[in-house]
């Protein structure tokens, strides 16, 4: 479904990615793990169209999307991106945030449907729908960001470090939510620094270091890999 081939990308002078390639198939839950600064977030931002790749190609279902502005990627290709800093509209209510998530859907009935689906999935958000997003707790904010991401009915969900800044028990909740979405048939590409948990819940994984993919394979296999164990699991 998503195919990234040999992309180079970066910010200004600074090149971060060097020939990164990866693939995500329909219905898969894929992890991209590695240390901070390795280029995980940059990869996602490039796929989402927030950064223009310097070289290489990104395609969805065979159509190239490289260099398309983010709003078009979301509108036409059915991708949703949830950034690590969440980028919520903090002076708007939860419901307004969600409605903006469905900005690309102009059909009111469909918007309502999405809203009902999301509220059903995250009861907490339904309880707080008129509260300002800025006043939510850390965990609720993550939920809201994910919920906003799925409001547009995406085929592919890109999630950047949902565990960032959360206490372990809340991280657990967020991962559970992602698993639930996977069960609903949403394809997910998850970027995480918390290698252990991530590889436990995903199907397949890529390991990125210093801007290059150094390893890929089934998550279970990666967990048993010597390098991964030494570098990330501290075993």
């Amino acid at each position: 479904m998503l195919k990234v081939s040999e992309i180079d990308a970066g910010y200004g002078f600074l090149q971060v990615l060097w020939g990164v390639s990866l693939e995500v198939h329909e219905g898969e839950f894929v992890a991209l793990v590695g240390p901070n600064g390795a280029g995980k977030s940059t990869t996602l931002r490039t796929i989402a169209g927030l950064i223009e790749p310097m070289a290489g190609e990104i395609s969805i279902n065979g159509d190239p999307i490289g260099g398309m502005p983010a709003n078009l990627v979301i509108k036409e290709k059915g991708i949703s991106y949830i950034s690590e800093s969440l980028n919520l509209f903090s002076d708007m209510s939860v419901e307004e945030n969600l409605l903006l998530g469905a900005y690309t859907i102009r059909d009111k009935a469909q918007q309502k449907e999405s809203l009902a689906f999301v509220y059903d999935l995250f009861h907490r958000l339904a309880e707080r729908k008129s509260q300002l997003a800025g006043t939510l707790s850390g965990g609720e904010r993550k939920m809201l960001a994910i919920a906003r991401g799925i409001m547009s009915n995406p085929d592919l969900l890109l999630v950047d470090e949902p565990s960032l800044g959360l206490a372990p028990n809340l991280t657990h909740d967020v991962f559970q939510a992602l698993l639930k979405l996977r069960d609903q048939g949403v394809t997910i590409l998850l970027v995480e620094q918390n290698v252990n948990t991530t590889l436990h819940i995903t199907d397949r994984g890529y390991v990125i270091e210093k801007g290059q993919i150094i390893m890929e394979g089934a998550s279970k296999k990666l967990l048993n890999n010597k390098h991964v164990q030494a570098a990330y699991l501290g075993i």
Partner: protein, 244 residues
Amino acid sequence: MSTILEVRELTKRFGGLVAVNDVSFKIEKGEIFGLIGPNGAGKTTLLNCIAGTHAPNDGVVSFLGKKMTGYNADVLCRAGMSRTFQISQPFPRLTAIENVMVATIFGNQRSNIFNPEQWANEMLEYVEFPMPPETLACNLNTVQLKRLDLARALASEPELLLLDELAAGLTEGELHELMQIIRKIRDNGVTVLIIEHIMRVIMGLCDRVMVLHYGRKIAEGTPQSVAKDPKVTEAYLGEETLAA
């Protein structure tokens, strides 16, 4: 050993939010003191209150036996307390060496440095800065910027060094290097207060650790004793984090 930093009943509020709630502790000269807690526990706020970035609403910070609450960061820096930032704060349009020179010239007034440029160079070498010193700071990546921050903090020859999540995002090898550097700094007589998420760094480096949770101090002691404290495990050290 004598006390270098003493914090008594420190409270900091933002509007209705109590970020740091009645926290007291002491740091002895020459030790590495760890400050841990889940995100949002108020660690950085506490650090900012100590370093003079925020004025606390209540409480006293004494540094080297003198009451230092309410002084600005620059005064504290010149008095011998330097810090790094959670998100690196470089001077983007100055070169790496000029960045360090700023702290050498303006922060280091207790000893005379005739050649700040050479001194700054030595600081960069000391922290094993991986890039040419003439590189503009805006062209450095996160990891390099953290090193630069450290070099700048050291350039003022501090008595007490406050490190805010210096290890975030490092690979195993870099982590190891960094821990060596911090040990070296301590062996040169600098007291270190370190905020860190990566438990291995805390466990491997710190002589004593304090745990904050929702702005309150919930435990203090050796890393081993703190890790065993049920309150801490419950609040913070979920089983996975302990494993990592």
